[in-house]
């Protein structure tokens, strides 16, 4: 039977869209407090240096300067900006290696001092008056150089700059035997690109201590409660003495799941006793905040002539940059994804997480999986060519099915990989287009595809706790009070749709209260597409409780048992006789203004801790035209078939996919940090030197939402946003391979690198360039 929904499945406007469209939505940069000071951070011009002397007296004497802080002013407590050490079941791989302000610079952009002054000009002048004496140390920028004996040591405790060696615990079988059994073995080393997050709102923060000693932080964040606990530890304060407000967030993509400048801002506010705002410029944001990891990834695949994959092996050197942050969990995600997408009896993976003197990395959208599929899904196409099998058929031969373990080892409730591959292949006209001639002129046509399975949150590696509260107003509307970080993915709106559906009221009857740790209940932070599946579930539970109270009340009024009632379109009615009923508003008003001594504010609290993390799936098809004279790649079309379970809001899900496609087009073709090999300076720190796709760079896109509700999800919904950056990049790379027969292993696939590959004589090293 087809379930009919009133609110779920509708294209409701994003939560807060009117505020944004009229310019009234407040982001951190828009918030002004009386007497607020401007904070600025002095960063190291050297990639590697020890501070041997620092004179701040000149800056302190400058009129208008209210605080100058160096490492000498802040207790040298070590922390990690990443939140996972607080929620991982096995946090022993996490690493506390960062200080609020250090006496050693580990990358160009590392924090050396901070000032607070009455205005920007004074703060800037004060920075220039701080005299720092550096003992310049030799830097190391390449992860393969960093692990060699005698390389400069980024952190004293990490010999050979190896922060952590990870052996994938899910390794199974015997890979050596698996490769022996294969008819074809392919091994290739890729370098994935160090993508900048490039969220449009540059990093900003406000910190303010009240007269009662409580600290209030205004900052974008995906994890306010855990970030608050981190601040509490750094400043030796109880958590309850910190209030974290998350206003509108101008993009995050995982970056603000970690602490960024909040500790510095709080230190300045503490010292001055006044509110302090730090607002990074684009260049500062690019060169000082977390990026995607660059992996040197060696992947190896063995296949039989019939297409069966016999072994998969991955060896990673992970360039995490100057601090450890998210490197263990992103690397684990990579290895789980690489070894977990296909049925394969023999898999093994291991990684060295390495320090270098470059910009720190974090857990950025699609982390681990994006980099793993960049390797695995390109190896699949090369193996297909070697054994003379169609890449679609090779995938169909090896994909997992419902009941198989997913990439985290959890038994899958549903698996629609076969359906979405077949649907996409048919829609795109795979068989015909794959057989099509590549062209004889300069322009060569190609078509490629790739697939992925992702996750709906960090279970089972991390604890994931969600809470929501719903209270009815007198008029039959309800307030949904929930920690639902909305960075543009419309988590608030989709949660409101879930609540409205359960409560039988309209989307616009739900008023959302969010973004304040003083008001909303505890939450472990979102990321890895946890939001809708987990927070949405807590909202559903809260709504079910409120609905129970609502129907109980209505039952009393109507003289029937609550279980005889249903609610829809703001009206409660008898299931057996829908004409008999009462409006929601009448019940809530009567319950509120009750003269019989039975007052009740109808409400519900719901919690959720997952026991599943159902994977969203995607099959992506890319069509390209490659000019063999200029190596310019024109993406003609992307077809993206997505299974994210029940679609609560189609516009939201499509938007997540379309945005992910655009980010992946950049990731595949243009985006990478350009770091000067002598100075360590990030040269691509603005939108001219670091090109993110514009309207003129995006291909034609078609998004198909293949809706397969998953039993454990709220109304059957799974996650979506995290995974949309994963399969597009290899699909494009495979299309280029189909068009011109070359791979670029040093991503991104820029025209220079494609040209270099094309110029190699065919037959030698398969036209591969690295």
């Amino acid at each position: 039977m087809v379930q009919e929904f009133s609110v779920v499945g509708k294209r409701a406007p994003r939560w807060g869209a009117r505020d944004i469209a009229t310019g009234t939505a407040k982001y951190v940069v828009d918030i002004e407090l009386p007497g607020m000071l401007v904070g600025k951070v002095l960063t190291s011009p050297h990639p590697h240096a020890r501070i041997i002397g620092i004179d701040k007296s000149g800056a302190e004497k400058l009129p208008g300067v209210e605080a100058v802080l160096t490492f000498e002013d802040i207790p040298p407590k070590l922390f990690t900006p990443n939140r996972h050490d607080l929620i991982l079941y096995h946090p022993e791989n996490e690493c506390k290696d960062m200080q609020v302000i250090s006496d050693k610079a580990r990358f160009v952009g590392d924090r050396i001092a901070a000032v607070a002054a009455v205005d920007t000009v004074t703060a800037q002048k004060a920075l220039e008056l701080i005299e720092v004496k550096y003992e310049v140390l030799p830097p190391v920028f390449d992860p393969l150089e960093a692990v060699k004996p005698g390389a400069p040591r980024v952190h004293d405790f990490a010999p050979n700059n190896i922060a952590l060696h990870l052996k994938f615990p899910g390794s199974r079988g015997d890979v050596e035997k698996g490769f022996q059994d294969a008819d074809c073995v392919i091994e290739e080393t890729f370098r994935t690109s160090k993508q900048l997050v490039s969220q449009l709102e540059p990093c900003a923060c406000i910190a303010s201590f009240g007269p009662d000693g409580r600290l209030t932080i205004w900052s974008p964040g995906q994890s306010a409660f855990l970030q608050r606990r981190k601040l509490a530890e750094i400043f030796d304060m109880p958590e309850g003495m910190i209030r974290w407000i998350t206003p509108h967030v101008g993009g995050s993509f995982g970056k603000f799941g970690s602490l960024s400048i909040e500790p510095v801002c709080a230190a300045l506010a503490k010292k001055t006793g006044k509110p302090v705002k730090i607002e990074y410029s684009r260049e500062e944001d690019s060169s000082r905040t977390e990026t995607r990891q660059k992996y040197v990834a060696t992947g190896k695949i063995g296949v039989k002539k019939d297409g069966a994959i016999t072994a998969l092996q991955e060896k990673l050197v992970v360039d995490g940059g100057a601090y450890f942050s998210r490197n263990s969990t992103t690397t684990m995600a990579n290895m789980g994804s690489f070894t977990g997408l296909y049925r394969c009896p023999n898999v093994a993976a291991e990684a060295d997480c390495v320090y270098t003197n470059i910009l720190t990395t974090g857990g950025i959208r699609g982390y681990g999986n994006s980099e793993a599929m960049c390797v695995l899904e390109q190896l699949i196409d090369r193996a297909a060519r070697e054994i003379g099998m169609d890449p679609v058929q090779l995938r169909l031969r090896n994909i997992k099915r419902a009941g198989d373990p997913d990439s985290k080892g959890l038994r899958m409730e549903t698996c629609t990989l076969e359906e979405i591959i077949r649907l996409g292949a048919e829609k795109v006209g795979w068989a015909e287009k794959r057989a099509r001639k590549k062209g004889e002129g300069a322009k060569r046509y190609g078509i490629g595809m790739a697939i992925m399975m992702d996750l709906s949150g960090a279970h089972p590696s991390c604890i994931q706790h969600r809470n929501a509260y719903i209270k009815f107003n007198e008029d039959g509307s309800a307030n949904l009070i929930v920690t639902a970080y909305d960075m543009g993915q419309n988590l608030c709106g989709t949660c409101a749709q879930i609540a409205a559906e359960v409560l039988g009221i309209r989307y616009e009857d739900i008023h959302i209260v969010t973004g304040d740790t003083d008001i909303t209940m505890f939450d472990t932070g979102i990321g890895a597409s946890a939001g809708l599946y987990q927070v949405g579930h807590a909202v559903m539970n809260a709504a079910l409780e409120a609905k129970k109270q609502l129907l109980d009340r209505a039952g009393k009024k109507l003289g029937v048992a609550a279980d005889e009632l249903e609610v829809r379109d703001r009206r409660i009615y008898l299931k057996s006789d829908p004409r008999r009923g009462i409006s929601v508003a009448e019940v809530t008003k009567q319950a509120t203004y009750n003269f019989e001594g039975e007052h009740l504010n109808i409400s519900g609290k719901g919690s959720f801790s997952p026991t599943q993390s159902p994977p969203p799936f995607a099959a992506v098809f890319a069509e390209v035209e490659v000019d063999i004279e200029t190596a310019e790649v024109k993406i003609l079309r992307i077809l993206y078939v997505s299974d994210s379970g029940r679609v609560i809001n189609p516009a939201t899900v499509e938007g997540q996919v379309e945005g992910g496609i655009a980010q992946s087009v950049g990731y595949c073709l243009t985006e990478d940090c350009v770091i000067n090999k002598e100075t360590g300076i990030l040269e691509s720190d603005n939108f001219t030197t670091y090109k993110i796709p514009s309207t003129l760079d995006i291909p034609e896109m078609e998004v198909i939402l293949y809706e397969a509700p998953v039993p454990s999800g709220p109304f059957g919904a799974k996650g979506v946003g995290h995974g949309t950056t994963i399969a597009v990049n290899p699909a494009i790379a495979n299309a280029i391979y189909d068009a011109v027969g070359v791979f670029v292993t040093d991503m991104p696939a820029t025209p220079e690198k494609i040209l270099e590959a094309l110029r190699r004589p065919s037959g030698t090293s398969s036209g591969i360039v690295s």
Binding site: A21, T22, L200, S252, Q489, E654, F687, T695
Partner: protein, 159 residues
């Protein structure tokens, strides 16, 4: 720094303000608590701070305030009529064209300038016209859709 009193007309309202010679239009708007105009790159690469000056799209981060004195300045706050959204704003809201929203004010004003000049653009012309306004969230599809939807709506006259 040279300071002077200058008059501005922003969203049909006159302002008399002390400005320094190096103050940008973006800074002026911020001083007047008009925070709807966003700055993302600060050097004219991204279009986020686009406002209209005498109807022309203008990058507020790279324009000196003093250069636009006495001109008609329209920011995102001045686009709707009370609770009645401009058709472009309504189309962005209804069409899922807003994700994080940081590019939205500049994007909507750029689209307005585009439609003021060419009320019936093709999809390609809209793409071209918005080529200088960056968005990291949406992939632009729903933004272009929203502009095309408002073209249709305005053509029918039911704004």
């Amino acid at each position: 720094m040279k300071k002077e009193i200058a008059t501005f007309k922003i969203n049909d309202r006159p302002y008399e303000v002390i400005v320094t010679s190096d103050m940008t239009l973006y800074e002026l708007l911020r001083n007047l608590h008009l925070t709807g105009t966003k700055r993302s790159c600060g050097v004219g690469e991204c279009g986020s701070c686009t406002v209209l000056v005498d109807g022309n799209p203008t990058l507020a981060c790279s324009t000196l305030a003093i250069a636009v004195r006495d001109k008609e300045i329209l920011t995102i706050e001045g686009l709707s009529r009370g609770a009645q959204l401009h058709p472009l704003q309504q189309a962005f809201v209804d069409g899922g064209a807003i994700q994080c929203g940081f590019c939205t004010p500049g994007m909507i004003l750029m689209a307005k300038a585009l439609l003021d000049e060419n009320p019936t653009p093709t999809r390609e012309e809209v793409k071209e016209g918005l080529g200088g306004n960056l968005c990291r969230c949406t992939g632009y599809v729903k933004i272009i859709d929203a502009v095309m939807a408002s073209v249709e709506k305005m053509r029918r006259g039911d704004s």
